[in-house]
Amino acid sequence: MSADPVLLPPIANPVRAAFGPSRDDTVVVNIGPSHPATHGTVQIIAELDGEKVLRTDVHCGYLHRGFEKECEDHTWHNLIPYVDRLNYCSALINNFAYCEGVEQLMGIEITPRTKYLRTLLSEYSRVADHLTCVAASLMELGAMTAFLYLVTVRDAMYEHLAALTGARVTYSYGRIGGLAADVPEGWFTRLHEILRDYERYVERVHGLVDRNRIFIDRMRRVGTLTTADALHWGFTGPVLRSTGAKQDLRKDTPYLAYAELDFEVPVGILGDNYDRYFVRMREMDESVYMIRQLMEMIPEGPINVDDRRCVFPEKTLVYSEIESLINHFKLVMEGPVVPAGDAYVAHEGANGELGFYLVSTGEGVPYKVHVRSPSFVHMGGAHRMLDGYQLADIVTSFGSINMIGGECDR
């Protein structure tokens, strides 16, 4: 590291706009990144004709922290906490998708108890993520009461997950071949209570906004997408489903325990902001329904597979026998040896298809970890939802995508 930082020859701007004013009477404005509606990480350069948005250039990268580069320098185990920080609203889904990718490369089949627990926790995270998104977009419209109702439930969930994992937001709970710990005593009893609270508060929110004139005027026929358009621009998840396409990886390519569950895939009609709000609200109900089914289904048994290539030995054994000590040492220092090859594993994240493309050369450290993050792809198509509407609609349309800076910029 040199003492004197190198200075570039002055450049006009670290971000180059794709366009300037096209006519004399239009103006190009810059929205974000330091703007609460863009989550502080996205910059929208918009050409305006009065209040009307003619075209937009969406630019991200302000939260880029070299996730993929850093992964190539850590063992397969050690990068699990990084994975948490991709989508920090539903960190467990990231955990489990990544772990399943590594397990696929190693040819490991997880235990039944872990399979059901992961499914339950994925759905629980999805509820937390949708609650955040709906609460934030309602608050952006000024609905502070609805925001507080929804965040009350989310906070109860965070505390509840902290009792299980030890952390409120970034859990690092998934492990290759299993989970960090089993469910503590009384956890499911509390889960029942929280789900009842969820229903009470969400009912109030439905009553407050669903048929609210102001809400409908701001959301109906704003940011409309067709199915063909959404597919062309790579939209997945609730945004694609809001256009009426019944696309859900949990149904179409069942993973974990989804094939055994009874649930519906809610879809929208017009593909506008109102539909995206409603699809998320209905999806949360389906998730709660799934969680209730899963609580009945979880079998007793071990949570970790019996595989010394990746699962850490019992602490008491590490201190008492040499084989376990060596095993522990090798797993920490060299990492689990993953057979050479590549795998792409996709889970239905809260915002769309969350894919991990992993490349191994047979070492304890990944050769490459690539994340196909829904938020980043959605930013590439976001202009289709913004162009042609009012300046104030940028806030609602952008909020309905639920862009998460952590996974968008990686």
Partner: protein, 184 residues
């Protein structure tokens, strides 16, 4: 889990894309202009095809139009430092009708790391190609907008290349004092 569509894709590509009359198509021989595509079989539930960069547009169009792979999922690269050709560009497609994925792999050399752009077929390719260009310096012929997306104007180098040191220091963007009549 092997989807029946994979057999169709493999067979059609063998019939339509491979023009040579090699007696045994099954042998995984090297790629050549007369044999621009070969199937590597189904791996972890995904059909893997290897192809030459020239064949990319034709194969992608056939995948989209004939086999309804209508969702362009991802493009990234793998830097096999020390091998020639050095870079492997990896594409993933998803079919919303058949619910399966296809992976395309093509190799490009360090001296001319350019592949055709898929922006004419999929709108979503634009952003992802920009990221791949940022991170690996892969050029996408036909993508007019390859401005930095995760990096910034003036960033030197391509950080995900294996020969880019993790601790590399970047030139700083100089401080720009606020301008305009409202700022005093």
């Amino acid at each position: 889990m092997t989807a029946p569509i994979f057999a169709d894709v493999e067979q059609t590509l063998r019939q339509q894309m491979v023009t040579d009359t090699a007696p045994n198509d099954e042998t995984p021989g090297p790629l050549s202009p007369s044999r621009p595509v070969r199937s590597m079989g189904v791996r972890h539930g995904i059909l893997v095809l290897e192809l030459l960069p020239e064949a990319l547009l034709a194969v992608a169009r056939r995948l989209r139009d004939t086999f309804s792979f209508d969702l362009f999922l991802d493009v990234t690269a793998v830097d096999w430092l020390g091998q020639t050709p050095r870079f492997e560009v990896v594409y993933h497609f998803y079919s919303s009708t058949h619910h399966v994925r296809v992976r395309l792999k093509l190799r490009v050399d360090e001296s001319h790391p350019v592949v055709p752009s898929l922006t004419s077929l999929y709108g979503s390719a634009g952003y992802m190609e920009r990221e791949c260009h940022d991170m690996y310096g892969i050029g996408f012929e036909g993508n007019a907008d390859l401005r930095p997306i995760l990096l910034y104007e003036g960033f030197v180098g391509h950080p995900l290349r294996k020969d880019y040191p993790k601790q590399q220091e970047q030139p700083l963007v100089p401080y720009r004092p606020p301008q305009g009549a409202l700022v005093r």
